[in-house]
């Protein structure tokens, strides 16, 4: 693909394998071989240890076994710790994405966060699941699947706690097959029933640890996907991984997320899936295959992906460092743009693509840079999250979350913007080329924001003001929504 300039190729890669990179970084990449750049993205910086995103220690929350005997006041405290915790976890993860020097891991984790969609009010459970997902984000899919399937968050959310020998609950087995591995149409209702039997006994204790409760496990013979045996849950996952369809389903979903969500090139996805399967589900190899492929840098893919709201926010904050007076604003932004972390719309996760865009969400996106960088009021509130009826009265926690967002909605968005490092990247650019350089750095493809237009709306009083206002205007374009 010689026709796509090297700089554009690397910008494309920086956005697809992360949250975009500043121009100087992109330019550095253009002097390296693709293989080296991709290798660095995949393995991260040397000695990059995985630092857990932690907002609370399990010991800080009380033993849930004693919850029943707790006083009203004590329960209220637990609720508040959970509500605050899930909020803090959201903010902490976003911060991690912004500051990470290993962005592909966070990006991949964000993908799995949608794939293994889950809702729980328990902050510890959320924290555990997030850690599992980040740990295995670029590892082995089989390990990831196994670990996720054993988190209290997922077991609870998909009712496997109620899956007993005498009273099977199929929810967990069904979603594992439909959403996590094979996709619909590749198994029968009978397969689901049999798989559910294999998962009986998988649960968790009050301390948030996976337990296998042998007494309620159905250890009889099962026939599922053409195999017969006295399968348990681990066997069941193994059988699912043996299905080529699982590799194909996961690869197609990754292709849609990282390459093209409008047109899926079947032949290409099949080739990728075969290699993924042969690698024993090595996620890094699959991503390497994608980022190394010439077709990945095809004009048709560049700038044709709608950034999910969280990527938009993180990208903006990675470009221009800023500190919000109230970081909870991130939740408000996520809410009005339609992607609140830890609150996927349903088990199938965020549909993505053009589903992100409607008149109001697009106008919020276009206004967002101004709202943040000119300290305006957002004047919008997200739809309320209806609390679920958990054990006890945990639904009150969500009410508290709604209240927080309601209070934020009419507030001026105050952030301390650190413009200097950003402005410095344009130090050597002559004034008349600034507009084009800024647009070229922030957009992978530019369709409408040309120099005359940007000049017309820019504040040209000083060089710095010019850079700032042109930047804000470039970020307020439809093109900036794309990568």
């Amino acid at each position: 693909m010689a026709s796509v300039p090297e700089k554009l190729q690397m910008q494309h890669l920086a956005w697809r394998a992360g949250f975009g990179e500043p121009l100087p970084e992109v330019l550095k990449w253009t002097h390296k071989r693709r293989k080296a750049v991709v290798h660095n993205l995949l393995s991260g910086p040397e000695k990059a240890v995985l630092k857990p995103v932690t907002v609370i220690d399990a010991s800080q929350l009380p033993d849930y076994r004693k919850m029943k005997n707790m006083s009203g006041e004590a329960r209220k405290q637990v609720r508040q710790m959970n509500t605050q915790g899930v909020k803090d976890l959201n903010i902490a993860w976003v911060q991690t994405m912004i500051r990470s020097n290993y962005p592909l891991r966070e990006k991949m984790a964000l993908f799995w966060h949608g794939h293994f969609a889950c809702r729980t009010q328990n902050v510890i459970f959320n924290q555990q699941l997030l850690q599992v997902i980040r740990e295995h984000a670029l590892g082995n899919f089989g390990d990831l699947l196994g670990a996720v399937s054993k988190t209290p968050a997922m077991l609870g959310f998909l009712n496997n706690q109620q899956n007993r020998k005498r009273h099977p609950n199929e929810n967990f087995a069904r979603e594992v097959m439909e959403l996590f591995t094979m996709g619909r149409g590749h198994y029968t209702e009978q397969d689901v029933k049999e798989a559910a039997r294999a998962f009986t006994g998988w649960g968790f204790d009050q301390g948030g640890q996976f337990v296998f409760r042998e007494k309620i496990h159905d250890d009889g013979e099962k026939t599922v996907l053409g195999k017969t045996g006295r399968f348990n849950g681990d066997d069941m996952l193994q059988i699912l991984l043996e299905q080529r369809q699982t590799a194909r389903f996961i690869t197609a979903k990754i292709y849609r997320y990282f390459v093209d969500d409008v047109n899926t090139d079947e032949a290409r996805v099949n080739r990728l899936a075969d290699r993924f399967y042969q690698s024993g589900y090595d996620i890094s190899s699959l991503m390497r295959d994608i980022f190394m492929a010439d077709w990945f840098y095809d004009h048709a893919h560049i700038g044709n992906r709608i950034k999910p709201p969280v990527e938009l926010l993180v990208g903006l904050r990675r470009t221009i460092p800023m500190e919000f007076e109230q970081e909870a604003m991130m939740l408000l932004f996520q809410g009005v743009l339609g992607q609140q972390l830890f609150y996927p719309p349903n088990v199938a996760g965020w549909p993505g693509g053009r589903n992100w865009i409607d008149s109001s969400s697009l106008m919020f996106r276009l206004r967002l840079p101004q709202v943040i960088l000119y300290s305006q009021e957002l004047q919008a509130r997200p739809k309320e999250i209806t609390p679920e009826m958990g054990e006890g009265q945990r639904y009150k926690m969500t009410l508290q979350l709604n209240n927080t967002l309601r209070k934020l909605y009419a507030r001026r968005v105050n952030a301390r913007i650190n413009w200097q490092p950003y402005i410095d990247t344009y130090r050597d650019i002559p004034r008349e080329r600034l507009a084009a350089e800024i647009a070229g750095a922030l957009l992978v493809k530019n369709a409408g924001a040309d120099k005359p237009l940007l000049d017309k709306y820019a504040d040209a009083s000083t060089r710095d003001n010019y850079i700032k206002t042109v930047t804000i205007d470039v970020m307020s374009t439809p093109e900036y929504q794309l990568c």
């Binding site: 044709n304 409607d358 697009l362 276009l366 739809k383 409408g448 924001a449």
Partner: protein
């Protein structure tokens, strides 16, 4: 009056297609009535959080009801009597009047197979009109837009009065528009810079590339915002609406209905009805707000001779359990009732039998009417749309319209 409206016409003419507006506009004038009749409108009021249907339409002759709700059960004397068997919640006095006037239909036992008791999942099912085993990323009104609005001039056929758009309003190719205040929508979208961007971008007939899709959405939003604001200015309600969010939203809807706007569906939410604790006070308050807002709305429509062109539908993601809980509330249940209000109903009153409390399933009511049948009826008979294509299945039609 004439000059004022003449000016409006010219203004709209410069923004929208003047030719398209003229005949209706003139016709309206001949009748001495600014608002031309005819455009059938559906207003959806979502009761968020799971409204307790059994305390909405009360089966006050049923012993099981009082047995399972020793504290929460509403006494026969307190309920607003509809029939020998059933009464309305005491806060719904305005609706009772509508019932007496033959402008209200009550559909009992509405639900769907394999009900889900999670708010967000069940709401998803009601919005997408999918089977409870399916996950659809489009909504039933959105797909109505897809079916009706191929090549539509302005995507204002479905409007939601809220800051963000509900799944119900999202189609695959067309989406409704959400706003709270038409003026703010106009100010935000008609910023000079945004308009300049749209002008600079060559319009694409077929938005294959996402960038074209975004520019198309942006251009439509800007032009719709202008159109809505222009229309919105033409009628100012003389009716007094309650100063509640729902009251304000219903006023916006009424003012739009009374204008020449091409909107067919309005969507608004009210809540939260999630009454696990201390249900009585909360439901009373929310019903009072609902009752006052709807009463003012209906009065407004009647004064403008539009009530026969409007159907209001209420729904909630689920009803609540038959038995009360230990906190003076009720927990998540299944089947529920729906209200249908309008001057053009062909059947009114109680449209079917009340809930069968003797035949519960694990303490929950069993549904008798699939809510998709209600959608199918409204789509087909009221909005003249292809309900089978939109709902992707043929559901039976009901006879309330």
């Amino acid at each position: 009056m004439l000059i004022l409206n003449r000016r409006r016409f010219l203004q709209v003419g410069s923004l929208a297609s003047a030719a398209a507006m003229m005949p209706r506009f003139l016709k309206a004038f001949e009748k001495g009535n600014l608002v031309p009749p005819g455009n059938k409108v559906l207003v959806v009021i979502q009761l968020s959080g799971g409204n307790d249907g059994l305390n909405t339409v009360i089966p006050y002759r049923n012993d099981i009801y009082y047995k399972m709700r020793p504290v929460l059960g509403i006494k026969r004397e307190a309920a607003l009597s509809l029939t020998d068997e059933m009464g309305l919640h005491p806060s719904l006095q305005g609706l009772k009047t509508l019932y007496d006037d033959g402008a209200m239909g009550i559909l009992n036992n509405v639900g769907y197979p394999n009900p889900d008791r999670s708010h967000f999942r069940s709401m998803d099912i009601w919005h997408s009109a999918s089977d409870s085993r399916d996950y659809w990323s489009t909504g039933w009104i959105g797909r109505y837009l897809d079916a009706q609005c191929k090549g539509c001039d302005k995507p204002t056929q479905a409007l939601e009065i809220d800051d963000t758009l509900s799944l119900a309003m999202k189609g695959e190719f067309n989406k409704g528009l959400a706003f709270v205040d038409p003026h703010r929508l106009y100010n935000v979208s008609n910023e000079a810079y945004f308009k300049a961007l749209v002008r600079a971008h060559a319009p694409q007939e077929h938005a294959h590339q996402n960038v074209d899709y975004l520019y198309k959405t942006m251009a439509e939003t800007i032009s719709s915002a202008s159109y809505i604001q222009q229309q919105f200015k033409t009628y100012q309600s003389k009716e007094t609406y309650p100063r509640t969010p729902l009251g304000r939203n219903m006023k916006v809807i009424a003012e739009l209905i009374m204008s020449d706007i091409n909107t067919r569906v309005y969507y608004v939410s009210h809540g939260s009805f999630d009454t696990h604790v201390a249900q009585q006070g909360q439901q009373e308050r929310l019903f009072r707000q609902l009752d006052e807002a709807v009463t003012a709305f209906v009065k407004d429509l009647k004064a403008n001779n539009r009530f026969q062109d409007v159907v209001v539908m209420t729904f909630s993601e689920f009803g609540r359990r038959v038995g009360q809980n230990a906190s003076g509330g009720t927990d998540h249940g299944t089947a529920n009732n729906m209200f249908l209000l309008g001057g053009g109903l062909t059947r009114q009153g109680l449209l079917n039998e009340g809930p069968d409390l003797a035949n519960l399933q694990e303490g929950d009511l069993q549904y008798k009417v699939d809510f998709k049948s209600v959608y199918a009826t409204l789509l087909n008979k009221w909005l003249a749309a292809d309900d089978k294509a939109i709902l992707q299945q043929q559901y039976g039609h009901l006879d309330f319209i």
